[in-house]
């Protein structure tokens, strides 16, 4: 049969003009999300759970939230069925010792929902005070953290006024909140320097950029979604789907500099921040090892940013030049979580970024001189496959064998994904000296189950010297995972107290030297995704490594060294000014000057 009558194309010489109507439709689909291509949701049970890599060991994380008294769920309002991109971000968690009793406490953002109108509402945060690491008590109400006027996402912890008590910024859809820790177990909400600027903020991080001894704040912003800019997405429009970030314009990030007296002022314009990002993850760390704090921003579907600090607080965006803007295919990724770690033991911090499905998580090896190289495939990361949508992530030596491990919380962002399920297994990657290998999970454990994971933070809540985890999920209770790996080496936990430097010591480098080599760690600001890990460092040398020595390179430029005896596993080091002057700060009880 020959379709004689059917003329498939326009006859007009201006064919494009007559045909462009179709372009909209085709492009609308093209700009849609991968999940649009199949109308039916993927039943969780029917989809094989992503499995890749070679199992190396059974993970030893035990989920104990319920028995510890941590009962909390971040809610995203999905039940209203508005299918907004707002629902996809989820919330963060934070480990920090807000009452300074020596035991880290736990905070999680509550998220929000939708009321008639539709109006966007918030849920209060959860704050859980540690009772000696054996149990937690919910204290958000007594602590004053009851505000529910923000659809909240992220937590950034930092002692911005250097009073010895860590303060908070809570991000979300609406004006971000600045909470001052009064030091009596309560928080006071302060007027924020951004006023009622309600542009959508995601992650935030604290770090002293200009070396004045006070923390500055970087606020990442996401996209310009609102109910007034809420396109319908989904295959054939039959099942409404959450629109991808490509459908929206990115919002400019913001930088607030401290005036040294507890005040913050907007320095975004002076800093020359790029305005074309869609920020989700922020890390403040000395990435080029030149003694000042740089900023790395993980953007969703656009170039990642690297702001290199010139030592005086002036920033230059050099991600492309440094090789950390794109993946190894030259493509921007859907980047969410970020951390740094010296995985290859060369003393330089390498970058780790959790990305969207069909992309590889990115391991950028620090080559020195401000250069990084994407080495995911060389070290087994690409071998994990592209089924994971990675969010919260952290590098730590969880099994204390002297090598870097990485934890990642995974979960999809859309309702009807076609390539991988909404709920996904979290990952625990262990470095064997050459490749990162996925640790197999014992049946019935947290890591064997699937979740819609989002925020992730590390902290040694029970004080046994290893890194425990807190992981938040969408509409699923918060998980607290106790680390029960047997110690494979000799670990030392280090808490730094800056006196000339910022009190949180963000940017300080700590080197633990032993007879067999050295391990380097760094106190960072931000990191992971919407979350805050305890700022105490845990460094591990191989067992039998002989006498240990600790070197601290402070952000203010001084270096301190001290010997670690065989019985010491926790050291608090207060910065000793190099010129002999002592800055009066509220040092914690039990500080151990070297």
């Amino acid at each position: 049969m020959n379709p004689l009558a059917a003329v498939p194309v326009s006859r007009d010489p201006l064919v494009p003009r007559r045909a462009v109507g179709l372009v909209i439709g085709v492009f609308a689909i093209a700009l849609g999300i991968a999940g649009c291509s199949r109308p039916a949701p993927v039943p969780e049970a029917a989809v094989p759970v992503p499995v890749a890599g070679v199992p190396t060991a059974v993970d030893r994380f035990v989920e104990r939230a319920g028995e510890l008294g941590v009962v909390f769920t971040h809610r995203n309002g999905g039940e209203a069925d508005h299918s907004t991109i707002l629902e996809s971000l989820g919330g963060g968690v934070g480990w920090f010792d807000f009452d300074r009793d020596g035991w880290i406490d736990l905070m999680a953002t509550g998220g929000g929902g939708f009321a008639a109108g539709p109006a966007i509402t918030g849920h209060p945060a959860g704050l859980f005070r540690s009772r000696g690491g054996r149990a937690f008590t919910a204290v958000a109400g007594p602590a004053g953290l009851t505000a529910a006027d923000l659809y909240s996402h992220g937590i950034a912890v930092g002692d911005y006024d250097n009073d010895g008590f860590q303060d908070l910024v809570v991000t979300g859809y609406g004006p971000a909140q600045l909470w001052h820790n009064r030091g009596d177990g309560t928080f006071a909400r302060l007027p924020a320097p951004w006023g009622d600027d309600d542009r959508w903020t995601s992650s935030a991080g604290w770090g002293d950029l200009d070396g004045d001894g006070a923390l500055d704040l970087y606020l990442a912003r996401y996209v310009n979604w609102s109910f007034a800019n809420h396109p319908v997405c989904g295959f054939d429009r039959r099942q409404r789907e959450i629109c991808p970030p490509r459908m929206f314009t990115g919002l400019p990030d913001a930088l607030y500099r401290s005036d040294g007296a507890g005040g913050l002022h907007d320095a975004s314009a002076d800093a020359g921040l790029r305005t074309d990002g869609k920020g989700l993850g922020v890390l403040l760390a000395d990435l080029d090892v030149d003694g000042d704090v740089d900023i790395y921003v993980a953007n969703d579907t656009t170039d990642n940013f690297l702001y290199v600090n010139d030592g005086h607080g002036r920033l230059e965006e050099r991600a492309l030049l440094a090789g950390v803007a794109y993946d190894d295919q030259g493509l921007p990724n859907g980047s969410m979580g970020v951390d740094c770690c010296d995985f290859n033991g060369d003393g330089r911090p390498d970058l780790w970024v959790a990305n969207y499905e069909r992309e590889s998580f990115a391991l950028y090896r620090n080559e020195g001189r401000g250069q990084f190289l994407h080495v995911s495939r060389r070290h087994g990361i690409t071998d994990l496959g592209g089924l994971f949508v990675g969010f919260g992530t952290a590098c730590d030596d969880f099994d204390r064998d002297g090598r870097t491990d990485i934890a990642v919380a995974n979960g999809h962002v859309i309702k009807y994904p076609d390539a991988s399920p909404r709920k996904q297994q979290p990952l625990l990657l262990r470095f064997d000296g050459d490749r990162f290998r996925r640790a197999a999970a014992a049946p019935g454990t947290y890591f064997a189950a699937v979740h819609e994971g989002r925020g992730l933070a590390v902290g040694d809540f029970d004080g046994d010297g290893d890194g425990d985890l807190a992981i938040s999920h969408l509409n699923e209770p918060l998980a607290v995972l106790e680390n029960r790996f047997p110690a494979g080496g000799r670990s030392v936990a280090v808490e730094l107290v800056g006196t000339v430097s910022n009190r949180d010591a963000v940017g300080a480098r700590v080197t633990l030297e032993s007879g067999t080599g050295s391990v380097v760690g760094q106190v960072v600001g931000g990191g992971s995704y919407l979350s805050h890990s305890d700022r105490r460092l845990r460094l591990t040398c191989p067992a039998g490594a002989g006498p240990l020595r600790l070197k601290i390179d402070w952000p203010a430029g001084g270096r301190q060294e001290l010997a670690i005896d065989a019985t010491t596993d926790l050291v608090r080091v207060v910065e000793q000014p190099t010129d002999g002057t002592r800055v009066a700060r509220n040092d914690p009880p039990g500080s151990v000057p070297p």
């Binding site: 049969m1 020959n2 379709p3 004689l4 059917a6 003329v7 498939p8 194309v9 326009s10 006859r11 010489p13 201006l14 064919v15 494009p16 003009r17 007559r18 045909a19 462009v20 109507g21 179709l22 372009v23 909209i24 085709v26 492009f27 689909i29 093209a30 700009l31 849609g32 991968a34 649009c36 291509s37 492309l320 030049l321 090789g323 794109y326 190894d328 295919q329 030259g330 493509l331 499905e357 069909r358 992309e359 590889s360 080559e367 250069q371 190289l373 080495v375 495939r377 060389r378 070290h379 087994g380 690409t382 071998d383 994990l384 496959g385 592209g386 089924l387 076609d418 390539a419 490749r435």
Partner: protein
């Protein structure tokens, strides 16, 4: 019969065998060519159905017949495989060998449509369809038009053409192959993947579809699946460079640096398209960088960029090497070119989308043309510029670009015509184009 055989003497046996042999020779002499033709023709067709044009061409060489006809068939296969320059040389050879011009001209017409010069020939191609030829000819026409629209960035027309074709014949794998390419151009890997899979369902042995699916599987980091498909292609065509390159990339992503490197070198020793060879060299450049050999990496990356100057990854690979060599200017140039390519792609998408709501906007048409020219798609860009001046004959920027474009290819007559329009100035009330 058995009784007769039993009574034959040895001499009689020899005579019988001799007669039988002579008969066989006579039959072969009389019918051999026909059998051979039938046999090799079937081989050509089978290879073409598999999308294995190299095998089809090899089988064609064994086909007896007139030189003109062979050249024409060779040209047709090369056209179908996308090698339009080589195809054109064959059409010329067919004419020189005395082949009847009608069929040769028809193939040339389809080649012209297929390469993207479709505006000038679409009437004639449609006339061919209407003339009521064979189904196979109609398929060829639709395929050439659809590919032509894709190559001309007339995506809506390509989609419409494919819809018409599909309404008539759902089971043509070529249709799904072209639909997949269209979706890829639109940046929608998911729909492209579905199209290729559907084509592969219809023609499981088609290596071009297998390779397309494998490439998307590789992009999606489903390494095991990609490797399995690529191994199947390699079994069918051991000298397929694309399959070997894909396998190399799988190995590299699985962390097998040594195995991956060996396969890349093997791929480079095979017949690779320039774009694939550029990818292979870029992989080697990346490996060299990982090993700290910046100088070697730069040399490899330069080779890659020379082979495919529009590949952002090649450019960024070169930049990564140059920055380690301390060549700041070279780094900036390579990165800037890579960024321009990415920006151009984004601007093109945005422009084509906006054109959907403002089809009479000559500025947007000029934008599309300009971007395409910047991106290295000169002919497609020129065609979009032509539509801009059809909407607004006094569109200064489009006229300027057209004049420059035609001048650049030595067509001074057309360039002069556009310059005359420029001298006439913009339409009253129109602002001068930037």
């Amino acid at each position: 019969m058995t009784t007769v055989a039993r009574h034959l003497t040895a001499r009689q046996w020899r005579i019988v065998i001799l007669v039988a042999a002579l008969t066989a020779i006579a039959v072969l002499a009389a019918w051999g060519d026909r059998w051979r033709t039938t046999w090799w023709k079937a081989r050509v067709e089978a290879a073409e159905r598999r999308g294995d044009y190299a095998a089809a061409l090899a089988a064609l060489d064994r086909l007896p017949g007139g030189a003109g006809r062979t050249w024409l068939e060779r040209g047709r296969l090369l056209r179908r495989s996308g090698d339009l320059l080589a195809a054109d040389r064959c059409f010329t050879a067919a004419l020189e060998a005395g082949h009847e011009p009608t069929l040769v001209n028809r193939e040339r017409l389809l080649a012209e449509a297929q390469c993207g010069d479709i505006t000038d020939v679409e009437d004639q191609v449609l006339a061919l369809v209407r003339a009521g030829g064979s189904d196979a000819l109609a398929d060829e026409c639709y395929a050439a038009m659809a590919e032509g629209y894709v190559n001309a960035f007339r995506f809506a027309d390509a989609a419409r053409c494919l819809e018409f074709w599909q309404a008539w014949r759902k089971d043509d794998p070529q249709l799904h192959l072209i639909r997949g390419r269209l979706e890829e151009r639109l940046g929608h890997a998911g729909l492209a993947f579905e199209a290729y899979r559907e084509g592969l369902r219809l023609a499981p042995q088609r290596n071009d579809l297998r390779l397309a699916v494998a490439r998307l599987e590789l992009d999606a980091a489903r390494l095991d699946v990609a490797a399995e498909i690529l191994r199947a292609v390699r079994r069918a065509r051991p000298d397929d460079g694309s399959a070997v390159l894909g396998l190399a990339q799988c190995r590299l992503r699985q962390g097998d640096v040594a195995g991956g490197t060996t396969l890349i070198h093997e791929a480079l020793s095979l017949d690779l398209r320039p774009e694939d060879a550029a990818v292979a060299l870029t992989e080697l450049a990346q490996l060299a960088l990982e090993d700290g050999e910046a100088q070697r990496s730069v040399a490899l990356a330069r080779g890659a960029v020379a082979l495919d100057p529009r590949n952002e990854r090649c450019l960024l690979g070169l930049a990564a090497g140059l920055v380690r060599e301390g060549d700041a200017a070279g780094t900036a140039a390579a990165q800037s070119r890579a960024r321009a390519l990415a920006d151009g792609r984004r601007r093109l998408s945005s422009t084509l989308m906006t054109l959907g709501t403002r089809p009479d906007d000559a500025d947007l048409r000029a934008d599309a043309g300009e971007i395409l020219i910047e991106q290295g798609f000169g002919p497609a860009g020129m065609r979009w510029l032509e539509t801009a001046v059809q909407v607004d004959p006094r569109h200064q920027r489009a006229r300027r670009l057209l004049a420059d474009g035609y001048s650049g290819v030595g067509d001074e007559a057309r360039a002069a015509e556009h310059r005359r329009w420029i001298e006439a100035g913009p339409a009253p009330g129109a602002e001068a184009a930037p």
